[in-house]
Amino acid sequence: MKRLRITSAFVAAALVFAAGTDLARADEGHVVVASWGGSFQDDQRKAIFDPFVEETGIEIIEATGISLSKVRAMVESGNTEWDVSGMVPGDLLVLARDGLVEKLDYENYFKGWLGDIVPEVVHPYGIGNFFYTKVIAFNTEAFPGPERPDSWQDVWNVEKFPGPRAIDAGDWVVPPLEYALLADGVAVEDLYPLDMERAYASLAKIRPNVAKFTTSSAMAPQMLVDGEAVVGASTLGRTVRRKNEGAPIDFSWNQGLIQFDYWIIPKNAPNYENAMKFIEFATRPEIQAAMVELQLLGPVNLKAFDHLSAERAEKLPSFPANLEKQVFLSADFWAAVGDDGVSNVEKNQQMWDRWSIE
């Protein structure tokens, strides 16, 4: 009899539990922020998320796995979970065209200091987060020097630099087409508009040597450190972070693909106001400076340099001496729509789908 009572108590408890737990989130004091994962997000947590929570009391719920298609799927299925997301410029332009993002309320949230932000990254539907760069990174045990991979042609040259590669997947945020064309001998000034067919032909040449086409920014540095790949495309910030930890990894400034990402608010985000508060907070000069101290990124808020030492500033990807070695990614090319009404972002997705299963 006693046992039966215990069982009934369990069942009752479980019922209450099941019914109660989903109601517990009734307070709306949170904001769901999707970012790029790994050590980048670890640093964001320290420099941006935790200070934000402390100042506003708004809880941050982190998500990862950003992509254009993820936001599209979310909005179109009526199940928008993210309040704020990072987004690369080409993808933002497509999202804005299709009405899948909310307009940012600059008037109420950036009172008087929008002018501190680099004007090129202020868009009605998104505001710049950071300038970052994808560099040629390599495992220093595989290539101790003096010959080190220094151009995309080197990355494609498996005789000179043997071993597996880590290259971005074409259906992830920034397709590897710029690299592929540079590797194929296209000059930097002739890069745009991209010859997409030629880029895929060039990719096919390196494909047998690609260990894994990466689908997150964390993957490439991890593979390079693990020895799963010996050379590849990796974001500067994460690469240098691993290097500073003592991992056998280094990079070349040459032909780095510099670009920036936006903060955006997906359509019908459940916590728009908190999302705006977060975006405003993340763009403040002292917050941008704090993040840049941890990861090598270029602040979009020029006032951030007031909080940075000259020593730190010259390591950043947006520092003039570094900038001139790199290539600027053209978001306009990626968002451009052809005669058939299909943008290059979407055209690439189809090309990648076909190419990838060959």
Partner: protein, 608 residues
Amino acid sequence: MQASGTSSNGALAGSPATAGAKPGPSPVPLLLAPALILLLGVFIVPLLGVLFESVGRAEFTVGHYIEVFDNEVLMRVLVRTIVLSLVVTAICLLLGYPIAWVMLLSSGWMQRFIALLIVLPLWTSLLVRTYAWMVILGRKGLVNETLITLGAIDAPLTLLYTRFSVYIGMVHIMLPFMVLPLFAVMRRIDTSLLSGAWSLGANRPMAFFFVFLPLSMPGILAGSLLVFILSIGFFVTPALLGGLGDTTFVMLIERQVNRLGNWPLAAAMSVILLVATLVLVIVYNRVLSSRVDGSALSTAVWVRLMSLAAFGSFLVERIVDTLASAVPRTLRGGPRQRPPSTFPFAAIVAWATILLMIFPIAILYPLSFSDAPYLQFPPAEYSTRWYENYFARRDWVRPTIISFEVGFIVMIFGTVIGTAAAVALARGSFAGKKLVLGLLLSPIIVPTIISAVALYYVFATLGLVGTRTGLVLAHLILAVPFVIVVVASALERVDPALEQAAGTLGATRFTTFRKVTLPLIRPAVITAALFAFLASFDEVVIAIFLSGVRIKTLPKRMWDGIREEIDPTTAAVAALLVTLTVVLIILAEVLRARASRRGAAGHDQFVK
């Protein structure tokens, strides 16, 4: 898909009414209702929803099917998936047969020991096992490091993210589903036939090929079918271990849903996969089962459940019993004569394979204590930093808590609902019992990803995606079949005369159940509860679809972690999960032993 019972589940498949002596309204509808309502709401209706979506919700159209068939990419991947599954099935058969054979030849404790080694991997998380292979096959992984140390190779081989690693990972996971049905059939073969053949002048290979092999055919068919069906709907391992060229059809379905949001196409693809599987199964069944006793399909369905649930617990029960010497061995079936000789080559293959199955799980422990910030084996220095990282990170701890919460609720409800249904099926007599049983067990055979797509579709409109309620409901569908099978096979062993006697003495049906039946089947109920918990706790495919940013289970967090950053925190979590599974099994055994002892007074006489 309909499953029906076979001779091996006599009590379920239309046994005579035995407990109907007591007058009054039949409790059968009441007992079956919860399970059937759950099945209808969380399985059948969502699947019908997928069917409707695939032919156009507003207006009937076959356009989405034409789109799939016209898409060269999709068709090639479908063919590739079928070929991949066939190869995996063939490898499993080639490796599994020697194992079953060696098990058959082994004596008492050795047989149970091998069985434990085969079954243990089944209980450890699928993700953990797949992750372990990533560690072993990597360029700085164990295989390459060993070969380099031995001087066999100069530069590491590329083993990971290849078709080769997909085969290894899949065979590792599918092998038990081949070995267990093979063994189940083999042990019913009268091996004196072999000795007979020898005495009549046949040599050993001849006797084996002409006498034993044909007799083991039902096991071969059931095992192959089971492995093939499971392989074709398999998602996790190819996704993690494969390269670009190893994309499978279910991975494309996931992509359509999660990345592209193309519902109608995903629905049409799901229906095509389901129908393709069904057709292959039926053809296979027709062509081959005419030659053997019983249908391969029903045997396969039954064995899938038996191997996961009843068979596994049965073996552990025996092992623990033997160790404790508490209960005398009661092997079911008649005394068996061991064949007097063996093939040494088969034994070598069998033991090598068995070691390979256990090895990846064992390797996680040293790896998780590595001090390096990346995967390295053997680790140069040891530390607990990855465990500390796990416990310090709320993005790891929170999913862990949610997994326990969901698993606990699934355990409670799943055990109650499943036990009620098992009682109705084992003791009730009603028309269409086979159909009801088949329906209740069908969620186990339908590829999980299709159930997941269907549920995502329905739950998204109900606002249940990313809620505990949604995860609990979905996991219940997977947990209840295990409970039904485990409890029903225990009920089969309880003499109904005991219940009739209680009824004659004036006890109500409920009192009889509580005072007579339940104490007798309590060990099975405890096992069933454990399986219900693990079915939820280890589940990853449904969790990938139904998790939200706030409500996310541990397997889903591991999935994200493995895909995005292969840091050793995952190894620490994996090692903890294996430990948890082992602890749970021991706990269940202790509880079961205590329950058996309590009922020991007359228990043994009453159990047939």
